[in-house]
Subunit: 359 residues, 2 copies
């Protein structure tokens, strides 16, 4: 597939789909949409390319915002951070990048790399490393395949810059997270430098297009098209786990993450209660204490009428939401995938439960 590009008309759909796959995390797309629109107006549509179509030895430039998404809303990058971290990566490799690469899918972290690509005059690779958002940098399919996240480069809005060469990806996460906490909880990062051939082989290819296609279907819901919700669920292989009203939200930002829980009361049966646990992303959905969906499967909260997918920071008391469960990329539902990003990796004394739980 060639000739694709992300233009102004795609931004809204891409943001919607990215928020769905962001499972509550990955950042609020509001500022990222403005940023991407400005970049496209200035530099034109951004070519979206398959890694397999690039020079196999070509260096990719992965980039993401890292920190607490609740903070991203207030502290936006000034534009220099991405240049700093990517130029440093190029200098280290002694090579020029051939394309920018998103590290995760999320409201912020899908749109931001495309804006960066526009500014650098490069295409964006239609790929990411997880086909969702995760709160920790080592939680990627790349880690499962033994690809190092180092060297990693990190820059903040004040011009502070840090370069990391960690011996393993979990240590890399700890070091970056510790610095981000000192950088006002938000910074721009490059990690997992790789060639196009490595991306084609080890990353999730097609995930930007997947987000765009999901977004188009969410858009149809928002426009009130008949059957649009079903069409969306079918496309995503998703299911509605619970439909309720937000009773309670508990959020706090700590150690570089936004943590919390949201509690919903079922619309039809007020005795039924669902609790969704959050660490940047929605991790586990419990109905009356029984897990119906667990990480790495995706849990997304969407307005029952407008179809608006919720980021953690957009949750509000009284909202009437579907709790939607969506299967993770199949590579995650393997022994090593679950060891890296299943419930126990987040401190739960709980095994992975297939979508819908034991019902």
């Amino acid at each position: 597939m060639t000739g694709r590009a992300i233009g102004l008309d795609d931004i809204e759909d891409l943001a919607l789909g990215a928020v769905v796959l962001g499972t509550g995390g990955g950042g609020d797309p509001y500022v990222a949409k403005i940023m991407l629109a400005e970049a496209i107006e200035k530099y034109g549509p951004v070519p979206l390319v398959d890694a397999a179509d690039l020079d196999p030895d070509g260096l990719l430039l992965p980039v993401a915002m890292v920190g607490a998404p609740t903070v991203i809303v207030e502290k936006f990058p000034n534009g220099n951070e991405a240049h700093t971290v990517l130029r440093a990566l190029e200098e280290h490799r002694g090579d020029k990048g051939v394309a920018v690469m998103p590290i995760e899918v999320g409201g912020m972290n899908t749109l931001f790399p495309i804006a960066v690509a526009a500014e650098l005059g490069l295409p964006c690779v239609d790929a990411d490393s997880m086909r969702r958002a995760f709160p920790q940098i080592e939680m990627t399919l790349l880690t499962l395949d033994g690809i190092s996240s180092s060297p990693m480069t990190l820059a903040d809005v004040k011009g502070n810059y840090v370069y990391f060469d960690a011996q393993d990806n979990a240590t890399g996460e700890k070091l970056v997270r510790a610095c981000v906490a000192q950088m006002g909880m938000i910074a721009v990062m490059s990690a997992y430098p790789m060639t196009a051939a490595q991306c084609a082989r080890h990353a999730v290819n097609g995930s930007v297009t997947f987000a765009l296609e999901i977004g188009r279907r969410v858009n149809a819901i928002q426009q009130g098209k008949p059957g649009a919700y079903d069409e969306f669920l079918t496309f995503c292989e998703a299911q509605i786990l619970f439909t309720g009203k937000v009773l309670d939200i508990e959020r706090h930002t700590t150690a570089g993450w936004a943590r919390g829980t949201v509690t919903l009361e079922h619309l039809d049966d007020r005795s039924r209660v669902m609790r969704v646990d959050i660490q940047n992303e929605n991790l586990i959905a419990f109905e009356d204490g029984v897990p119906l969906a667990t990480v790495p499967d995706l849990i997304t909260l969407m307005d029952i009428e407008t179809g608006v997918p919720m980021t953690t920071e957009s949750l509000g008391f009284g909202q009437r939401l579907h709790v939607i469960g969506m299967p993770a990329h199949p590579r995650w539902i393997t022994p090593d995938g679950l060891a890296l990003a299943g419930p126990r990796a987040f401190g739960y004394d709980l095994d992975y439960v297939p979508l819908g739980g034991a019902r």
Copy 2:
């Protein structure tokens, strides 16, 4: 002064003097003494040079261990960390170092750079940046003169490496400290890269020799020479603030530092109690709540009979100690010096008190 060198015979005296100037911090010299002895046996005595005698444009290689001194006793560098951080500095500057430079004076951090110099086949500069030990990296006379601590390089025993380019020295401290906490509380750092001319102008020159001279006088105390304690006090312009028995020690390692307090009961009058507050180094000595010595002046605890100077980690219940106050380098006792490293810089609602307090 030329032709000086640190040989095997100097190690014990240098360690004693460095612990005195380390004011409880700067690390236990035990392992550093072994390390330096091995390096001197292998490579020969280490020339000690004045910065003013070096090529003014020559690059100095400052090096120190950073973390909680309580941990240094158990986790010692494997020797590669210093090479990693200094080679990275040289690569960044595109120049080869002409001499190694101690960053602070302390049991560990005076001996360690000399051992590194031996291994690199370089001389050691007779200088440091504070003429004592301080718990925070930005607390140097170099900061007062506007010299950046960045770029800083950091490596741990496992081979993890981090490079920092911070916009100000206080931010550099925060970023390094955050990473050290993830590196098991101890790592090897290079910071304040500078030329010999900058060292000659802005650092404390002669401080290694100063430590050695102090150590010789402490050695005389240990050998029971008559009048040795007085001779030591006179040389250091020091005074005995309190003489007591250790009643209580409270220590904990947190956020990359060893914090605590030691409480002593006066030997002659048990109604008199002195409390010394510690953050890696001894910060303030209070008698019955009244400060008699405050940072940046030096507070050193020494055995009343053997003259052994105490590091924080060597303190023990029942020890009979002199609490000795020694004036800081005069550059510290200025408005900007006290703002950077006076009691308020450590969170005390307390002004600097000249040695001996209001007595």
